[in-house]
């Protein structure tokens, strides 16, 4: 116990003395959070729209008003020719264009008007959302026009109700704010990355400096060395978790509906995997740089296969299978459910169990590799 405390104390002194690393550990997560919270959003708003209105009539203005009123578009450019419209989209200044033909009003009266909506499909994610919005706004306007026409022809439209109405109700995140999806992911990523990177470099640093050789000839047991060295970093990782959660909650408005103890306990389970990966990397790497690289090599696939950015359901079956061995995957399900849905352990126990099993497996395998002897 004395030996363990000695290592922990020594490690803490070193952490406080290395101000730069300490600042990095505490500030990087905040930067990542703000970056992800604002940039990694799929919420489509204010898509710049180029308008080629060749009709310039009351009817065409009404259509454009409909687009303007829907929050999705910004009528950014008014152009005189198709060539001009094409140029704007090519340069990326406009992401979409609407083309209203000269005979729009007369065709509308005949009931056979057509407008063209041109879309920049090079960004598939933004493109598909824009497409859906454009179609929806157009259809709503068309329905409104039809009702108007019917009313003019003497039909009592108050009696005319659509036979079916889909009433949507969005649970948990009614405004479908992307950051509510992203920020729990950031917590998981940071927790995992920070512990893996710090564990690996803290142990490899001893090897680089040659101090591990001195430690090995002392009565320190391997597990004491490992546990003593990582406990300070585990604490720092928890500080990071709380920090990111606090900012996520008070700045980005991410709800924290679940039980805080359960959140921290599940985060602790993810730490097992992070520590295991870090410890494993430290058994492969001889320098801190190699350790970093090794950790990042496992980290990137983990992030992509965890459903951090892209939903797992959309991935090919093979990748979905592979994702089952990614511990972060389980944690993201857990943390999103805990923060946003506010569920209890009963709803997430399979993921929690998987996270614990994988964590113990990875950590156990890494600890086996981390042998005390130098040969």
């Amino acid at each position: 116990m004395n030996r363990l405390l000695s290592i922990i104390r020594k490690e803490f002194i070193q952490i406080t003395r290395d101000r730069r690393t300490l600042v990095i550990i505490l500030v990087i997560p905040i930067m990542q959070l703000f970056l992800m919270g604002y940039s990694a959003t799929t919420d489509i708003r204010n898509v710049p729209l180029a308008v080629l209105d060749q009709c310039r009539c009351a009817e065409s203005r009404a259509l454009l008003d409909a687009y303007r009123a829907a929050d999705y578009f910004r009528l950014a450019y008014s152009v005189q020719s198709e060539a001009e419209l094409r140029a704007l989209i090519e340069r990326g200044d406009a992401r979409a264009g609407i083309l209203i033909p000269p005979d729009y009003n007369t065709a509308l009266a005949r009931g056979e008007a057509q407008v063209a909506f041109i879309l920049d499909g090079s960004d598939a994610t933004a493109g598909s959302t824009t497409l859906a919005s454009a179609t929806l706004v157009g259809q709503q306007h068309a329905t409104a026009l039809m009702f108007e026409k019917l009313e003019r022809s003497g039909v009592d439209i108050s009696r005319l109700q659509p036979p079916l109405e889909v009433r949507t109700r969005v649970w948990y995140n009614p405004d479908l704010v992307s950051s509510h999806f992203m920020i729990p992911g950031v917590i998981g990523m940071i927790l995992y990355a920070v512990t893996a990177v710090l564990t690996a470099s803290a142990i490899v640093r001893e090897r680089e400096r040659g101090t591990i050789e001195q430690l090995i000839v002392t009565p320190i047991r391997p597990w004491e060395l490992v546990v003593g060295k990582i406990i300070p970093y585990v604490l720092l990782a928890f500080v990071d978790t709380l920090e990111v959660m606090a900012i996520g909650h008070w700045w980005f408005g991410v709800p924290v509906r679940g039980d805080l103890t359960l959140i921290l306990a599940c985060s602790g389970l993810l730490l097992l995997s992070g520590l295991g990966i870090g410890l494993f990397a430290s058994t492969i790497a001889n320098t801190q740089q190699e350790a970093m690289l090794t950790v990042w090599m496992t980290l990137l696939p983990s992030i992509f296969l965890s459903g951090f950015f892209f939903p797992l359901e959309a991935m090919p079956q093979v990748l979905q299978w592979i994702s089952y061995i990614v511990p972060l995957r389980y944690y993201l399900v857990i943390i999103r459910a805990l923060l946003i849905k506010g569920v209890g352990l009963a709803a997430i126990w399979p993921e929690t169990l998987a996270l614990a099993v994988f964590g113990l497996l990875i950590l156990g395998a890494a600890a086996l590799r981390f042998r005390k002897r130098l040969d």
Binding site: S6, K10, Q14, G210, V217, T218, R373
Partner: protein
């Protein structure tokens, strides 16, 4: 004081095809200072690692402080001190923090023991200095303090004076003598010939083999096959040629401004003078020289 502290029997370590330590047998008694002399890479460090149980011997065995070096390495390590050639210190900790840490690892809590160790190595007053700011001589003393903090009865010093200036080296050896006087057994590796002279016994190692181990005087007497002469002759190169070919001369080497000649016992100065004159050189001024461990090493390494 005849208790055997280290007993190595046919200690061997192979790394693949390379034999780093080749059937080494020796023993060290309590209170001895034993030097291990040899060039870098000759197997000195590998031997120490096996004695500390860090490496498993490929063959043979070693008993250290009565324990099997490999199977009971925990017992050995708790009782032995080790100072590596890298001075395994934490640069970002102060002198006292380094010592406190290693003390804690050995289960020492009392500040008094740490202060005693600091006094012993002469680091009192530097407790609060950051290790990275210390001069090499003080880093060396701190490394020794760390190896000594738990008062081991056996001390392994692996190249303890590399990179340290001669004054600090001398002071360091005084410390080692002091420890040996208190009954601490010391096994020290070095590639400095002059340093090996300070040791009670010296083992000469080359290519993994322990060529000889004895007191410096006994080594000189038994290993050197003749008498040492210092020949002052001009020009040196021609003199070297001439004497090398002379009858009864075993080895000639340059040594500063003169030649160092090892000649068959009883050859006499006159034969050497004649050998030079036969080559048309003026007769050298000859003085009898003292054999050194370097002569021993070169003789053994042939």
């Amino acid at each position: 004081m005849t208790e055997t502290v280290i007993a190595a029997e046919n200690l061997t370590r192979r790394f693949g095809d390379f034999t780093a330590v080749d059937h080494v047998t020796f023993s060290v008694r309590a209170g001895e200072i034993v030097g291990y002399l040899g060039p870098n890479g000759c197997g000195k460090t590998t031997t120490i690692r096996m004695l500390l149980g860090l490496l498993e011997p490929s063959e043979g065995r070693a008993t250290v402080l009565g324990f099997d070096a490999f199977r009971q390495s925990e017992d050995v390590r708790a009782r032995a001190g080790y100072m590596s050639q890298k001075f395994a210190l934490y640069d970002d900790l102060t002198v006292l923090e380094n010592l406190t840490f290693y003390g804690g690892v050995y289960g020492l809590r009392e500040r008094r023991r740490l202060d005693e160790t600091l006094d012993l190595v002469g680091l009192r007053g530097r407790e609060r200095d950051l290790t990275r700011d210390l001069a090499a001589g003080f880093r060396q003393r701190l490394a020794l303090a760390i190896a000594l903090v738990h008062r081991p009865k056996l001390l392994f010093l692996d190249e303890p004076t590399s990179g340290v200036d001669p004054t600090a080296r001398r002071a360091f050896w005084d410390l080692i003598y002091g420890l040996a006087g208190e009954g601490v057994t010391v096994l020290v590796t070095t590639h400095y010939m002059d340093e090996a002279e300070y040791c009670g016994r010296v083992g000469v190692m080359r290519d993994g083999q322990l060529l000889a181990m004895d007191t410096p005087a006994a080594l000189k007497a038994s290993v050197i096959p003749g008498e040492v002469w210092e020949a002052h002759i001009q020009p040196l190169e021609a003199g070297l040629e001439a004497l090398r070919e002379a009858d009864g001369v075993l080895r000639v080497g340059l040594s500063g401004d003169h030649l160092r000649v090892i000649a068959r016992r009883g050859l006499g100065a006159e034969s050497l003078r004649r050998a030079a004159q036969a080559r048309g050189l003026t007769a050298p001024r000859l003085e009898r020289g003292e054999p050194t461990l370097e002569d021993v090493f070169l003789a053994l390494a042939r």
